[in-house]
């Protein structure tokens, strides 16, 4: 089946992918009611775009599928968006000369403009047994469904980053006995210092999750093609489910094959335009080359805020406003692990010449650390109560001299003298 130009003569916009960036892009595109495109969205997943960040909540059972749905099917209908979902609508080729997208099911879609929102793919760990059944990643609704089918038993989660911890916590809540295997000395090692990492580990251990830190995965062990455990240095951990959270990489196979200029991601300019001016990207698949200003920068995107900014810029551009460009802003780590808030930003591991102030209320599940240089904040780490994270961020970015508020600084903005 072929999709031809619409009788009304509207230009055709095809969007590949229906993740969070894509949905935000569509929202922006239709927000003003001025959209003059006929929009087709191709999604390989079986349901309309959902909040991927909340998959861990879904896993933990604290929300249901409706609760993470970004926009209902009815909304797409109301906007006149043609939303095509499922394996058949997985885009498998872009023919740029014909300005046409081909799907797995053999359908072709002509476009005037194409927006690529293919997101990223989870990394694998190249050890024996990676293809065993029951070795999963944690990326999609389908992954969550597989985990939920795993039942009670023992689970091993590889990776002690945010996703690993949330996955472990969710599985534990679902009744599994969970061990998190990490090659770092403590959980969230890139976002926390030793003390905060220790607090987090202790807290999670208190919730029944076991840790193997500074451990290397040697192999997945299986019986009859199904995983039954993992071998780490000198220890065998039985497991009926192994979830691998080892980071992600931009999902760009489609773009590479279409001859778009790619590096780790598909290369875009500040307006999210690829090497083909009719093709834009939104989200984690993009890699932005910044030339203006100081030294050249190459950015990848893993957080939702810049992705949403992508969505705004591309939507504006398609609506005729070509002046919006992406300006990178430092983004602090500001997240919640199993209900525990964390915030870190800047150089929160001090060097010898830095000044450090700490507030340790571990017994209340709270820890704060500020690293200072010349009376200016250089790094922030907040554990448990992160109320003032964004305020510290501002002070850090603006290079504010904190001498006059030093006595109260660590307690937060609310405690400054009026």
């Amino acid at each position: 089946m072929s999709h031809y130009q619409q009788p009304d003569g509207r230009q055709k916009l095809v969007v590949i992918g229906n993740g969070m960036g894509s949905v935000r892009f569509l929202e922006q595109l239709f927000a003003s009611g001025q959209c003059r495109f006929h929009v087709t969205v191709l999604s390989e997943e079986d349901c309309p775009g959902y909040n991927r960040i909340q998959l861990s909540k879904l896993l933990a059972g604290s929300v249901d599928l409706d609760g993470i749905q970004l926009k209902s099917a009815a909304w797409y209908q109301q906007q006149g968006i043609e939303l095509l979902m499922g394996e058949n609508y997985k885009a498998i080729r872009i023919d740029r000369s014909l300005k046409r997208v081909v799907t797995h099911g053999g359908d072709t879609f002509d476009y005037d403009r194409l927006v690529l929102a293919t997101g990223s793919l989870p990394n694998q760990i190249p050890v024996p047994g990676a293809d065993l059944q029951g070795v999963l990643s944690f990326r999609s609704l389908a992954d969550v469904n597989l985990m939920l089918e795993a039942g009670q038993g023992q689970a091993v989660v590889i990776g002690g980053g945010l996703l690993g911890l949330e996955c472990g916590s969710g599985l534990a809540k679902r009744g599994m006995s969970v061990t998190i295997v990490d090659n770092m000395p403590m959980p969230m090692a890139r976002q926390l210092d030793e003390h905060a990492g220790g607090l987090l580990r202790k807290e999670l251990e208190g919730r029944g999750i076991a840790f193997r830190s500074s451990a290397t995965l040697q192999s997945y062990q299986g019986v009859d093609g199904r995983v039954c455990g993992v071998q780490i240095d000198g220890e065998y951990l039985p497991a009926s489910l192994v979830v691998v959270t080892a980071g992600v990489r931009p999902n760009i196979q489609l773009m590479q094959e279409a001859g778009l200029t790619c590096d780790r991601g598909v290369l875009v300019n500040e307006r999210l335009q690829t090497s083909d001016p009719d093709i834009f990207t939104v989200g984690e698949c993009a890699q932005m080359q910044l030339t203006g200003g100081q030294e050249a920068q190459s950015l990848l995107f893993g957080l939702v805020a810049p992705v949403y900014r992508h969505a705004e810029i591309v939507a504006a551009s398609l609506l005729g406003d070509h002046d919006q460009t992406f300006t990178p802003v430092p983004i602090p780590t500001n997240l919640k692990v199993d209900g525990i808030n964390l915030f870190s930003s800047g150089e929160f591991i001090p060097s010898d010449s830095d000044q450090v102030m700490t507030l340790d209320a571990s017994d209340a599940g709270i820890y704060r650390k500020l690293v200072l240089q010349n009376n200016r904040i250089k790094g922030v780490l907040l554990y448990g109560d992160v109320t003032d994270g964004l305020w510290y961020q501002e002070l850090m970015e603006s290079g504010t001299d904190i001498s006059s508020i030093r006595q109260q600084l660590i307690f937060g903005q609310r405690f400054l003298a009026a």
Binding site: K57, G67, A305, A361, D363, T387, F411, L416, A418
Partner: protein, 909 residues
């Protein structure tokens, strides 16, 4: 012992019934109505007694908080000999045998009693009687020596008797009220309230305050003369000369009722020079001086009231006479709204004077004259009458230091703190072979040197009478049964007297017995055949116990009047109803001198004995603060009373602070020829330059270094022997230390070896302000190890703050820093009293109250929006879905993770 038991039963029966009694503090003598709420827990509600003529229902901050000071915490409840708890009989045997042995070996003048204006008249009477009539020495002096000896001496010189000619009402009736050396607002607050009320009612009434410091009293003043310390005599000499020059004298009064005027005027004139010289010498503006003189000159209804600024001076007696001279010269004495009025410091300084509690008085306003000695001997049937005055306070401790006094019984006072050159007092007490201390508090600076400690009944447990500054005698009544083995002082003294073989003369079964004897002595030969004396309450010599129990406040002198004209009293008629008080003295002369004339006293201006110089360039003044009393044994226990002034301080003029590099709230060291102190600096332009002020209240029980007694010079008024506590040359310098610390705890902590430490009683605990080195090493922290802890460290600036929690309460807070912490103590203390878990109050270590509203637990991490903020927005704007919340607060508009929570908050409403 029967009496005590009766008293106990009585107190219990009065449960929840209002008990009329008298305030424990200053000489105003306010009537109190006390309602015991829980006798076990010593809970009592205190209100002002509406029908008491001293206060008519008013009370000051201290009086109102009396209920907070009557717990058993810190009480001395059992007799102790060298620290060992003993039974009464053993303690009393020890006292008696040591007394006996000392007298036998060294004579009666080797023993002494040092009493207090806190004693009741009955206690005082018995102590005085034992010493002066039966031991045979007049070494019975009292802390009243530090309070109003100069007024006693001045009044006796002028009037021939220690007579207060006027009443409180005159403060209200006056058109000109001159307050000299009196911070009435803080030290006699209820009189100040009365004056304020009258001034509001009659704005024309003028108030002049004469005080080197701009005190709170100046708030009411039309004119404040901030005279140089000690210039009072000169100022009133100048006034006398001015009155003469302006023809404002009452020649008739002077001629008919006085003597010595010409010489007094001559000496006055000679001392003052011209008006500009006079103003300069007084340190005031000439036009202000003239204004005061003019007002005095032209205002018939003038009251001059004074207090310790006059009395505690090397020229105190002369100051009193210089003021009285001006009143005699204008005939303004003992008239409504006109006269001199001394405001005494203590609740029963006047009662002490009435029984003869000073070493130079005999008893009942009788002196050491052969006639009076014989009269009193007859009345007492005394075995060993003292023949001459004994040693007054400062001399008494000096002779103890010289080894002459070998036995001392200190009753209800704390001379180690209150006497000048207190290091020498300590030396003397260490030397004295027997030191007996009767007190209601176990640990005082003086009790530390006691060989024998006797538990005395405190204010709330004793029964008797007190006399206020206007000669008004009021009952003080027990609110609780005596606690532990506590006993009234009169009982202890009588028991000792009995053991010395004087049982018959000290056979009292209760305070009423003593009161009757005291009243009888006041009337004994008080007539032309004997000697006419001002003080008499003779009609009460036969009152019954129940009449005594029900005795209403009355002024002395009290004389009998004919009831129904028949002269016969019915049996049921109370004695008091057939008596009349005399409110005022001397309107028509009638002085108690030999010839009935008042004496003008020539008051020459003397150079100070100890003047500021190169080494000690500043002048130290000492005094009270509003909410503390004496050595804080009572007020120190009230958290409320500790809020007004919680640490000892040095008030210093900004210019001096700058010259000596003292910063406000920093620590400074003060040194005099006699000792050193370290206190907090309070920069204040209420001080005159070159003069500093330090409160008198702090002791070694509350502070390591903050007491004034060690600094003060032991210079005495030559007539009254009252020490000059307000004129000591000192030097000041900044006090540098490595660390400062603040500790708030539930339990009292004993510290030693810290450079600076002051203990402050707070609600549910104590606060310690400290300075020194290695404060972090304090051993106290080990006891807190099991508690939950919050710790803030900023090593670069040496800041460390720790809070310990358990049982949903703060258990302790520690703040140490290189500079004095700016943490808000009141706020920390507020949280110390709250129920708050570590999760709810971890931020208390900020030491500063937050502003704005608490955002609550964070819900939206992306935009930092808290639960409480969201709930407030939902309520305020009636928001019904997360999108609306997002448009108001941005919450949930980024990653959206918090949207389910926001939805939950909306649902919860």
């Amino acid at each position: 012992m029967t009496v005590l038991i009766q008293a106990n039963i009585m107190a219990v029966n009065q449960l929840a019934k209002a008990i009329n009694t008298t305030c424990a503090y200053c000489g105003v003598g306010c009537g109190i109505s006390a309602r015991v709420v829980d006798p076990e827990l010593h809970l009592v509600e205190i209100t002002g007694r509406e029908d008491h003529p001293a206060n008519y229902g008013r009370l000051c901050s201290k009086g109102s908080a009396l209920g907070e000071t009557v717990s058993l915490d810190g009480r001395l409840l059992y007799p102790k000999v060298h620290g060992r708890q003993v039974v009464w009989s053993e303690a009393l045997d020890q006292v008696a045998s040591r007394l006996q042995e000392t007298i036998e070996e060294y004579g009666p003048d080797s023993v002494a009693i040092y009493g207090s204006g806190q004693l009741l008249t009955e206690d005082y009477y018995v102590a005085n009687k034992l010493m002066k009539g039966f031991i045979g020495s007049a070494n019975m002096d009292t802390n009243s020596r530090l309070c109003m000896a100069s007024t006693v001496a001045g009044q006796k010189r002028a009037f021939g008797s220690d007579t207060v000619p006027n009443t409180y009402q005159d403060l209200e009736l006056a058109n000109l009220l001159v307050l000299v050396g009196s911070n009435t607002a803080w030290c006699h607050p209820v009189l100040f309230q009365r004056i304020r009320a009258m001034k509001e009612q009659r704005p024309d009434m003028k108030v002049v305050v004469i005080d080197p410091r701009r005190t709170e009293t100046c708030d009411l003043a039309d004119l404040h003369l901030a005279i140089k310390p000690g210039a009072d005599v000169l100022l009133f000499n100048g006034l006398l000369a001015w009155l003469a020059d302006q023809g404002a004298l009452d020649q008739d009064y002077i001629e008919q009722h006085c003597q010595g005027f010409d010489q007094a005027l001559e000496v006055a004139r000679a001392s003052v020079g011209d008006i500009q010289q006079l103003a300069d010498a007084c340190g005031v503006e000439q036009n202000e001086l003239i204004r005061f003189y003019h007002w005095f000159c032209t205002t018939d209804k003038t009251v001059t009231a004074w207090s310790q600024g006059v009395n505690q001076s090397a020229a105190g007696t002369d100051k009193v006479n210089a003021m009285i001279n001006c009143h005699l010269a204008t005939g303004r004495i003992g008239r409504p709204g006109s006269g001199p009025l001394s405001l005494t410091g203590q609740p029963n300084a006047m009662g002490g004077r009435e029984v003869g509690g000073l070493a130079n008085q005999l008893a009942a306003h009788m002196e050491f004259t052969p006639d009076d000695i014989a009269r009193v001997r007859r009345f007492w049937q005394a075995a060993n009458m003292a023949q001459s005055p004994g040693k007054a306070a400062v001399d008494l401790f000096k002779s103890m230091d010289r080894g002459e006094i070998r036995f001392v019984w200190i009753m209800g006072t704390n001379p180690v703190v209150s006497l000048p050159d207190s290091n020498r007092v300590i030396k003397a007490l260490k030397k004295c072979p027997t030191v007996v201390v009767s007190d209601c508090i176990e640990h005082t600076d003086t009790a530390e040197f006691a060989d024998i400690l006797l538990p005395a009944a405190p204010w709330s447990e004793k029964d008797g009478t007190v006399t206020n500054s206007e000669r008004r005698i009021s009952r003080q009544r027990a609110l609780f049964p005596t606690a532990g083995e506590a006993r009234p002082d009169w009982w202890m003294i009588s028991e000792v007297a009995g053991r010395l073989g004087f049982a018959e003369a000290f056979n009292y079964s209760g305070s009423a017995d003593i009161f009757r004897e005291h009243a009888a002595l006041s009337g004994y030969e008080n007539n032309r055949e004997g000697k006419v004396r001002d003080f008499t309450i003779a009609p009460l010599a036969n009152i019954t116990d129940s009449e005594y129990d029900a005795l209403e406040p009355f002024q002395w002198p009290l004389s009998a009047v004919q009831g129904d004209g028949s002269g016969a009293l019915s049996d049921t008629q109370p004695v008091i109803s057939t008596t009349a008080s005399k409110a005022r003295f001397f309107k028509d002369g009638g002085f108690f001198t030999g010839n009935g004339r008042a004496n003008f006293i020539a008051t020459d201006v003397l150079r100070p004995l100890n003047a500021p110089g190169k080494s000690y360039p500043l002048l130290l003044n000492t005094g009270r603060v509003r909410d503390h009393w004496h050595t804080m044994t009572r007020t120190g226990r009230s958290a409320r009373l500790n809020q007004h002034t919680d640490e000892p301080f040095l008030a210093i003029h900004p210019k001096d602070a700058e010259s000596y590099q003292l910063r406000d709230q920093a620590l400074c060291q003060i040194s005099s020829e006699f000792g050193k102190a370290v206190v907090r600096v309070q920069v204040s332009d209420a001080q005159r330059p070159d003069e500093v002020f330090m409160p008198m209240h702090w002791t070694r029980q509350h502070s390591e270094t903050g007491f004034s007694g060690v600094l003060v010079n032991p210079v005495l008024d030559p007539v009254s022997k009252q020490p000059d506590l307000k004129y000591t040359p000192v030097a000041v310098e900044p006090y540098h230390t490595e660390q400062y610390g603040v500790l708030i705890t539930r339990e009292r902590v004993a510290f030693g070896g810290i450079d600076y430490m002051t203990e402050v009683r707070i609600e549910n605990g104590y606060r310690y302000e400290m300075a020194g080195s290695n404060l972090g090493q304090l051993s106290l922290f080990s006891g807190l190890n099991d508690y939950q802890k919050v710790e803030f460290t900023d090593n670069t600036v040496g800041e460390r703050r720790v809070a310990w929690f358990s049982d949903a309460q703060l258990q302790a807070i520690w703040v140490s820093s290189q500079a004095i912490s700016s943490c808000d103590r009141q706020w920390l203390q507020f949280w110390f009293c709250q129920t708050a878990s570590i999760e709810e109050a971890w931020w208390v270590l900020s030491g500063k109250p937050p502003r704005g509203e608490d955002a609550g637990r964070q819900v939206c991490a992306c935009f930092g929006v808290g639960e409480k903020t969201i709930c407030r927005a939902i309520a305020e704007h009636g928001l019904s879905d997360p999108v609306q919340v997002g448009s108001h607060l941005q919450a949930g508009t980024n990653c959206g993770s918090c949207i389910p929570e926001i939805r939950g908050l909306i649902k919860r409403g």
